[in-house]
Symmetry: C2
């Protein structure tokens, strides 16, 4: 059995009391330099580590933060997680990642589980399926610090981090227009997501600026956020089968973008339709059909969100003023 040494073992070995050892270990000043030295050296020698679980129980905090994302196999989220970790580690926190796979059920289970005193705070990007927010409202009311990022929620008052989705979508759509496209379809994410409406607005604004009327028939929503390959395939097929086929597609997300390209390839339509969309893939410039991409500052978003969460966790007084950070996207043409 795996049985690590405890403070008690050290006390016994050194003929001291556990409290003395404890104090020495955490460098309390009310301890003689001699004993402190002895303890520290011994602890070092046997590679002693305080039991974090006992510590958590006692201090009623775990020095860990929970991260809930739909999927880790997604460049945007894995980059965001790297950002989160970079801050968390530097401030002595652990990061516990959990995936929803865009399922509402998993989101509820995961947040509950994480919340129940095993994390000090929660960083969450909503699942595509989530329409009921009661699980989050309750945790938030109970006082669990929560920060939303990317797929945020208006109704809960807390810190939030997003990218400038409207502007990103605008840039992508405008790019397509400037390339001469006029019938620009929009392959959108689940309709209830914050990012979906923001990106749609950017799309509309760009069309408006160039006097192209919005045609709702050219907009398809993927309610499973692309987790369902078939859903994307059908949406693309729908576009391709239109009597008046679109000459471009603006795609709202990473998952959707790759799904869209795969469908275009499958239907052999890759040459007569231009694609631009959100993607943080690191192989975006190697794709064929090519994908001009709106890239979100995922790493920075993760950093920012983690900073906000930790400030919430460590705040001595209840925080009343909340901030929504909006980071800028960049656009990369690929041909």
């Amino acid at each position: 059995m795996f049985k690590p040494t405890t403070i008690k073992d050290i006390a016994k070995a050194l003929n001291l009391s556990t409290s003395t050892v404890s104090r020495a270990l955490r460098g309390g000043y009310e301890i003689s330099e001699d004993t402190k030295k002895i303890v520290l050296e011994y602890a070092e020698k046997i590679n002693f580590q305080r039991n974090p679980i006992a510590l958590s129980l006692r201090e009623r905090r775990s020095y860990s933060i929970g991260v809930v994302v739909c999927e880790v196999a997604n460049q945007f989220f894995s980059q965001a997680i790297d950002g989160i970790e970079s801050i968390a580690y530097s401030k002595g926190y652990h990061v516990i990642i959990s995936q929803t796979h865009d399922k509402y059920n998993r989101e509820v289970i995961n947040t509950e589980h994480l919340a129940n005193r095993s994390v000090d705070g929660l960083l969450i990007s909503l699942s595509a399926e989530t329409k009921d927010y009661a699980h989050l409202v309750r945790l938030h009311q109970q006082g669990l610090p929560i920060v939303f990022f990317d797929r945020i929620l208006d109704s809960i008052k807390t810190h939030k981090v997003t990218s400038n989705n409207r502007d990103g979508a605008f840039k992508a759509t405008e790019y397509l227009i400037k390339k001469g496209c006029r019938r620009i379809a929009h392959l959108a994410n689940a309709s209830q997501l914050s990012i979906t409406s923001e990106r749609k607005t950017g799309y509309e604004d760009a069309l408006g600026k160039y006097g192209i009327p919005l045609d709702e028939n050219l907009v398809r929503y993927c309610e499973y956020g692309g987790s369902n390959k078939q859903e994307v395939d059908e949406a693309v097929k729908y576009f391709l089968d239109m009597r008046d086929r679109p000459d471009a597609i603006f795609v709202a997300s990473d998952r959707l973008s790759t799904g869209c390209l795969a469908a275009l390839k499958k239907y052999n339509a890759k040459n007569n339709i231009l694609i631009a969309g959100f993607s943080n893939s690191d192989v975006v410039e190697l794709l064929n059909p090519s994908l001009s991409a709106v890239r979100q500052p995922a790493f920075e978003m993760g950093r920012k969100a983690a900073e906000m969460l930790i400030s919430l966790i460590e705040s001595k007084y209840p925080v009343e003023e909340f901030e929504t950070a909006i980071l800028e996207t960049t656009f990369h043409e690929n041909t």
Copy 2:
């Protein structure tokens, strides 16, 4: 402050002792149906959850397993993690993921941290940099259940899961040969990794089978496993600059493969050199230059590894017999 209800609160509210409540909650049979019902209903009503930290402290186990991988932003590992989670959740375990970014230091820190009684066992794929295994040996000796997957370690006696790297490499190399290539370079991973030598052997075997002599000048190792973009770039450049330029490259890993394609594109060499390599990317068929790929059964590997680890954790008696599972790869031509 986030202050969840405790068993004590329930006891007080219901005028019972904490032990009765505890027993009712875990369905001990030595409790009257009436009280059990009352307690359960009340707990349900207030959405009570036992404090997992207190539980861990008491039971000396956390019902969580630690996963150490180099990077989550890697299709192979994220698929493997999905497999791990599928098993872990079904058996009531949590999964704590930590990334080494292929740094030895981070591997040491992360494993220590996870091990120290906050996980019941460890699933690990070694970092590219790791040459010293003392940190793992120590934990293993102390009795922490460890299962290696993908990048395994011979010297520690425990369960292991890999794919048939030799055969995968053989298939890829043979494919290139059958395509008419004769000067086949090999872009390899860090030389100390198990997968590196296994894949190199497959490469050599294929060359041997077709009577092509092995030329060590055609083999380049990437000691940072491709984490260092420049390293890959230089290796590819080295191949391209050879007086007798290779007509194909067999690439040993996902990260390396995309880095290799990027370099080929950069140096405008994508048309006269054929690439085959290990990759679990889900966009592999969309890549240009194209990448014919050896795909590992990542999800299955994760499942298998998790099953092995949990059986180790839950074994009543010390396990002495260990198994190394070797799963088969598949090869996918892309042109």
